[in-house]
């Protein structure tokens, strides 16, 4: 697992209010189906911005951006965050 993936998972664990441990989820698993609410998504967004020092543009403020660990990873990459392969 890459350092970035670990950071993403930590953010989800602390701010996602998921009813299941994030460690039990695969990178492609649907976070909404696993209990991520829209309000918690906002918390996750703010925490990711703080963690990676980025700001999600309006175009990324949609459900698909936070659908899975992999989707978050992809969004961060599109914002210029360098993520080493895991």
């Amino acid at each position: 697992m890459s350092d970035a993936d670990e950071k993403i998972r930590n953010v989800l664990e602390e701010h996602g209010r998921l009813p299941v441990p994030v460690s039990t989820l695969n990178n492609g698993d649907d976070l909404y189906q696993n209990g991520l609410s829209s309000h918690a998504s906002v918390n996750v967004m703010l925490a990711l911005e703080d963690e990676f020092d980025v700001e999600f543009p309006d175009s990324l403020l949609r459900k698909g951006t936070f659908q899975s660990v992999a989707a978050i990873r992809e969004a961060l990459t599109s914002l210029g965050v360098v993520i080493a392969p895991g």
């Binding site: 906002v42 967004m45 403020l61 459900k63």
Partner: protein, 571 residues
């Protein structure tokens, strides 16, 4: 009229303050002995977040009064019950000035020590007010503060984008949120407000910041606040309180205790204050219709329900228009519609009262459990009280208006007093079922009452099953259920308007043929109008559907109850 007004010195009173041409509405909660340790203004959040916060700030006001503080909870200009419109120009200046006006009002009572509590964007406004006005706050609580108007609107935009598949961000910069729309002009003004840009002067002698344990505070805001003499507190109670519909909001007891204790720490000195000269009536609208509109608060009937009366300055006409608040509504109505509509209709001569049912808004709770009930048959009795209080000689001279559970109460109330009219927006599909269950709940036998309660809970989770059961009962038990509730109203001669989303009155809203059967089933007569409103959702959250419904409601009320009496076309 036998209503009793909130007036004179008492533990809790409503009042108007601020500039005469832009009066602000507030609640003053005071120690009963006319001596206080200081004044505290409570600045609420903006928009939908203000609804769950109302009950919390009311509780805070009561606790602080018990500790010897005079508190003022208030609505910013163009929000809540204050004058003005949400989309008026200069929202940044108007809302910051509202905070300054609240501080000035507390000082006018003779209080020299003034503190402030601001929640969410209310915290941002309190900080901005402290920077731009000489407010000399003793203590300041920033409760889950928004760093800036920009960050606040961004959070709202993200929330809408993350929960609605059809949400599109408007390129012009305006922000449509659940219920409230920030115009491009308002959004530009609010984005300029920031807690991090405020002047280097201290916000207050001491500051408490309540941050969410489940949300990151920006580095920039933390850096700015670290320049103050800050006590930091973390809470996990904010989400369950403010991230949910008002009905499900959980009281943040621990956080409230911490704030009350912190505010109560520094001073034991008391000073006299005088709240006897406060303004209890205000002119709130001069800009539409034929009349200037005045408002004052009321206590209605033996249950002392809280209401706000909008009435024309001049000869009133037509029936009383009663707008109901229940469950998820505030007495300002969804998206503040009850305020806007009651002032508009009063400007055409109608007397309008927005009423909180017991257990909600600012009405008292007769019974503890009432506060968390979505449908209570006892509310029908309250509607009878309201009608008799407003119009003792002819209680039928009322028109009840409600949304969802409020629509159900409006219908039952109209049946009970043979009301002139009822406007029901998205009434529950199982109203006939509820009507039948209410008879069980009124039984003297405990077992029958328990059955009624159980059946009601069943309806909340299986609404179309309940609707079908009611229809089946009407067919099979004609002596017990001779007709449906709406038909009864029509037979009574009550004018009935039902506005419904496609999802609310038909189990098959996406199938035009089946939907047409429902329209036929509901029928239409001279005094019965039912409209399926395209784009309308159950809670009136979406702006377009809401605007269509409001247009129909407005036209109906003015046509049937204002024009019919005045003989003139109000449009």
């Amino acid at each position: 009229m036998t209503t009793s007004e909130h007036a004179g010195p008492r533990l809790e009173q409503t009042l108007w303050f601020g500039a005469e041409e832009q009066p602000l509405f507030g609640w003053l909660t005071s120690p009963s002995n006319a001596l206080a340790r200081g004044g505290v203004l409570l600045a609420p959040p903006i928009g939908r977040e203000a609804f769950p916060a109302r009950r919390v700030l009311k509780s805070l006001a009561t606790s602080l009064a018990a500790r010897g503080f005079v508190t003022l909870r208030f609505d910013y200009h163009g929000t809540g019950d204050s004058s003005g419109h949400f989309d008026d120009p200069d929202r940044d200046r108007a809302w910051v000035d509202s905070v300054a006006d609240a501080a000035a009002f507390l000082r006018s009572l003779g209080l020299s020590s003034i503190s402030a509590v601001g929640m969410r964007f209310g915290a941002t406004l309190v900080g901005a007010a402290a920077a731009t006005h000489d407010l000399r706050f003793k203590s300041m609580v920033l409760w889950d503060p928004c760093e800036s108007g920009r960050s606040y609107l961004r959070e709202l935009t993200a929330l809408e984008g993350l929960r609605r598949d059809d949400y599109e961000i408007d390129p012009d910069g305006s922000v449509e949120t659940s219920e409230f729309v920030f115009t491009q002009r308002a959004a530009v003004a609010l984005r300029a407000l920031s807690l991090t840009d405020v002047s280097p002067r201290p916000l207050a002698e001491r500051v408490m910041v309540v941050e969410r344990g489940d949300r990151v505070m920006s580095k920039k805001l933390r850096l700015r606040l670290d320049r103050e003499k800050v006590d930091w507190e973390s809470t996990f109670e904010q989400g369950p309180m403010i991230d949910v519909e008002a009905f499900f909001a959980v009281m943040p007891d621990l956080t409230l205790n911490r704030i009350v204790n912190w505010l109560g720490e520094p001073s034991d000195t008391v000073e006299p204050f005088d709240a006897s000269g406060t303004m209890t009536t205000a002119v709130v609208s001069r800009d539409s219709g034929e009349y200037t509109v005045e408002e004052r608060s009321l206590e209605l009937g033996p249950s002392e329900l809280f209401g706000v009366l909008s009435e024309p300055v001049g000869d009133a006409r037509g029936p009383w228009i009663v707008l109901l608040n229940s469950v998820n509504d505030d007495h300002v109505g969804r998206a503040r519609l009850w305020v806007e509509l009651s002032r508009r209709w009063a400007s055409y001569g109608l007397r309008c009262v927005r009423v909180d049912l017991s257990g909600y808004g600012d009405s008292p709770s007769r019974l503890d459990e009432l506060a968390r009930v979505a449908y209570d048959s006892r509310w029908t009795g309250e509607m009878v009280e309201v009608a008799r209080t407003l119009s003792p000689e002819d209680p039928s001279n009322v028109v009840f208006i409600g949304l969802c559970s409020g629509a159900y109460v409006a219908i039952e109330g109209a049946l009970a007093v043979h009301a002139r009219g009822v406007c029901a927006i998205n009434p529950p599909v199982f109203i006939d079922y509820l009507h039948g269950v209410a008879r069980l709940e009124a039984s003297r036998r405990t077992s029958v009452r328990a059955l009624g309660l159980h059946l009601k809970r069943l309806a909340l989770s299986h609404q179309w099953v309940a609707a079908t059961l009611a229809r089946f009962s009407q067919m099979m038990l004609r002596s017990a259920y001779p007709t449906d509730v709406l038909s009864k109203l029509v037979d009574d001669g009550t004018d009935v308007l039902v506005l419904a989303s496609f999802d609310d009155l038909s189990p098959c809203p996406r199938t035009p043929f089946l939907r047409s059967i429902d329209l036929w089933r509901m029928g239409k007569t001279k005094n019965y109008q039912i409209e399926f409103v395209p784009g309308l959702d159950h809670g009136l959250h979406g702006a377009k559907g809401r605007a269509r419904a409001v247009s129909l409601l407005d036209g109906n009320v003015l046509e049937r109850f204002a024009r019919a009496v005045s003989g003139t076309d109000p449009k």
